[in-house]
Amino acid sequence: MLHYLLLSSFAMFFIAILLNFSKYFRAVHLRCEVYPIPHEINYKHGGSYYEWSEWWRRSFERPRRWKLKTILGILLINRKKMSLQPKHWFATFMFHLGIFFHAIWILMWILCAFFNISTKILKMASLLAFFGSILMLAFGMYLFLRKLRPPLRYYVPLRDHLILIFVLLLASTGLLNFLEDFHIFPNDLQPFFESFKTVHLILYSALILSLPLTKVTHYIALIFTHLILWDNEKMSEKLEERLKEKLHCRVEWGAQHIAKKTWIENFLEVEK
């Protein structure tokens, strides 16, 4: 039963994410790139094709795999934060590592309901999740306290505190659950601690379900923000078609210098 609960939470999570982020797939916008851009040949010094005179006459190959490599680098290590805030970087890295360990166990646990997975592997995943819970608790606590101190306190809304508390709760029930997995409690207390697995998994499902409503999906958002920051594609026929459509939208801005006409009519200062 709990397997199905978790599975459906994951399914709903993915649907919500898809709905939430689908608008960014079809987005057109003006260029607002910031260098260095990983798919540029001159990436090392942050250069672009504009470094060549008559750049439009040159053909430049841009290895797209760099984009993926850089995004993965940001997701996994995040050097930028490491250089500016090493302490905070370490805490968030450990916290996220804990979440990752925990997620591996959940995945294994779901899989074992449908496939025959050796108990050895499950035990290892449990051990990983146990350490994961410790990391989540310790570093989550640090992040929570950090957010309570000024000036961060003035920036972090209640919702973000609540989510972190939820994660800390999850880490605590997780910890008890994994301790129980290793049978360290006296036998007569076993049923009491066993119930933590149920509580833990229900909490986990609830968290997964609520994630699309929170900022926690920043891990997905950062892919889109970087794709925008790295978008230095020059005008093409395909792009022109999509842009023309936008330029023919009517605008309603109230300032005197903007006519209530389309974008292009404004640009060309077309009289009525």
Partner: protein, 518 residues
């Protein structure tokens, strides 16, 4: 006035921050005393309630309840339009992502020169203004406590507008944000809301900037006739300085290149215009200037505050190129004009207006490598390079200018940090041209301070009044900003530091042209 300013403090009456000399970061190797004057009481009719500086030189404070309600109404309307696809497809998606996913980790703060220079004053933190916008948007959607929403009142509206002009739009902060949240872009969107809905923007940018340019052809007020007589004067001046007779091509149809300069260069310092003419003629390029309205002023201040002014001016520039039937447009040493015409406008124009456009820097490099006869020893003085954000961080033109300097200036030394991770000169985002009331004080003391520290550091081994030294800044607005703060910090007298363009240094090293920089 408190040390720890909270977001909700923007709703309150009175001046939010008063900054003093003790707050500013110390200058390296230089004991300089900044003086802060009390605000002129007459200026209190402007919005001074943020930090005592006035960026928006309009009297737009509501005088009664009726005007206050109208202000609130317009602001709310503007907010809706900012978030609607029809009215703001240009930057809506980057804006939404940046508004929705900041985790308040604060990594961006230590990347911002304004925040650092001010002694880490809360209101200059890159996220401060973004967070205000975020919270007033959330207000209309969800619960107050849960999301920490802010109410909107007149104090918030007035202060938020000023706050949007305490940022150079240099976008260094986004390079250091692990999530790619763009506080510079959010700031420009805030400026747009005020300009496009309320008609509120600094006069230098709007009334005397884009509006004047669209009416006359140049934000400087320079007209065609004036331009032609300046060109005559430039030719005479070149002859006087170098003994060479040069005929500057103007309105020559069918030329390969249309060269666009920032019109400010025709009016204040002609060296850069002269240097380009000498280099292009010496290299026998097929090029022309234009004497038609818009053709002699590359600037496009719309890039800093208004999408509509941006688009209108970009079309005007390309209309000139189309009429002159040139093969390409080359933008001279003007950073924001580079960005506006070469890259941002790329997605606004199409068809016959899509004429190839490029930076002057790679062309100068080609000429230095292949066509010009140079003697680097003529530039033996210490030189450092300022990287204009618009050309370097935001367009990726990084190497050509340094390759040139390595070839023509034997004592060239980089600032730290440099290239795409440079610091803004402090004049970015339009602040360079906002010179009314007490705003230059903000620029010189706060937004330019880190750049001045970098310059002092680059010249630390030669920081004396004996030898001349140059900061090379291949951008007209950066040069104006740097010259202004070198004056303010008395660095010209004390250390003989001056600022010049790249083309001037090239001409100064040309074998046949003696003492050009003198």
């Amino acid at each position: 006035m408190k040390d720890q300013i909270k977001l909700s403090d923007v709703l309150k009456e009175g001046q939010l921050l008063k900054i003093g000399p003790e707050d500013l970061i110390k200058l390296p190797n230089y004991d300089f005393k900044d003086e802060f004057k009390e605000i002129n009481p007459e200026w209190k009719k402007y919005v001074f309630e943020l930090d005592g500086f006035i960026g928006i030189d309009l009297e737009w404070k509501p005088k009664n309840k009726e005007e206050e309600n109208e202000l609130l109404l317009k602001f709310t309307e503007g907010l809706k339009k900012l978030l609607s696809e029809e009215n703001n497809w240009t930057f809506l998606y980057p804006l939404l992502l940046s508004l929705d996913y900041c985790t308040r980790c604060k990594s961006c703060s230590s990347a911002c020169h304004v925040y650092l220079a001010s002694g880490k004053k809360e209101i200059y933190r890159p996220t401060f203004r973004s967070e205000i916008l975020r919270r007033i948007i959330k207000k209309s959607k969800f619960g107050k406590k849960l999301f920490g929403s802010l109410d909107v009142n007149k104090n918030l509206i007035l202060r938020l507008a000023e706050l949007a002009y305490r940022c150079n739009l240099c976008r260094r902060c986004v390079q250091f944000c692990p999530l790619g949240i763009d506080n510079g872009l959010i700031t420009r969107e805030i400026r747009k809301l005020y300009s496009q809905e309320l008609g509120v923007a600094p006069k230098a940018l709007h009334e005397k900037g884009t509006v004047q340019q669209l009416n006359i052809g140049s934000s400087t007020g320079l007209r065609s006739e004036g331009f032609r007589s300046i060109i005559k004067f430039v030719e005479e001046e070149i002859f006087e300085r170098t003994g060479k007779k040069i005929k500057i091509p103007v309105d020559e149809k069918g030329s390969d290149i249309l060269l666009l300069h920032n019109a400010g260069d025709y009016l204040s310092r002609l060296e850069n215009v002269m240097a380009f003419a000498i280099i292009f003629e010496e290299a026998s390029l097929s090029w022309t200037l234009s004497s038609e309205a818009f053709g002699y002023d590359a600037v496009n201040y719309g890039i800093w505050y208004d999408d509509f002014q941006l688009g209108k001016i970009a079309f005007k520039h390309l209309e000139i190129a189309r009429k002159l039937e040139v093969n390409r447009v080359v933008v001279g040493e003007c950073g924001h004009a580079h960005k506006a015409l070469i890259s941002v406008a790329d997605r606004l124009i199409f068809g016959e207006y899509q004429i190839p456009r490029e930076s002057c820097l790679p062309i100068l490099l080609d000429l230095v490598k292949k066509k010009l006869n140079l003697d680097p020893e003529k530039n033996s003085f210490p030189v450092t390079l300022h990287d204009p954000c618009n050309i370097v961080r935001l367009m990726g033109v990084v190497e050509p200018q340094r390759e040139i300097l390595r070839k023509i200036c034997p004592s060239f030394k980089e600032m730290k940090p440099n290239g795409v991770y440079n610091y803004c000169c402090g004049g970015g985002g339009g602040l360079a041209i906002m010179n009314s009331l007490n705003f230059p004080e903000f620029r010189n003391k706060i937004s330019s301070r880190v750049k001045f520290c970098q310059i002092l550091d680059a010249f630390r081994d030669v920081l004396n009044s004996e030898s001349k030294k140059y900061v090379c800044a291949p951008c007209s607005n950066c040069r104006a900003t740097i010259r202004d703060f070198l004056d303010y910090y008395k660095a010209k007298d004390k250390f003989k530091i001056d600022c010049c363009g790249l083309a001037e240094l090239i001409v100064n090293s040309m074998v046949d042209f003696d003492g050009f920089l003198e």
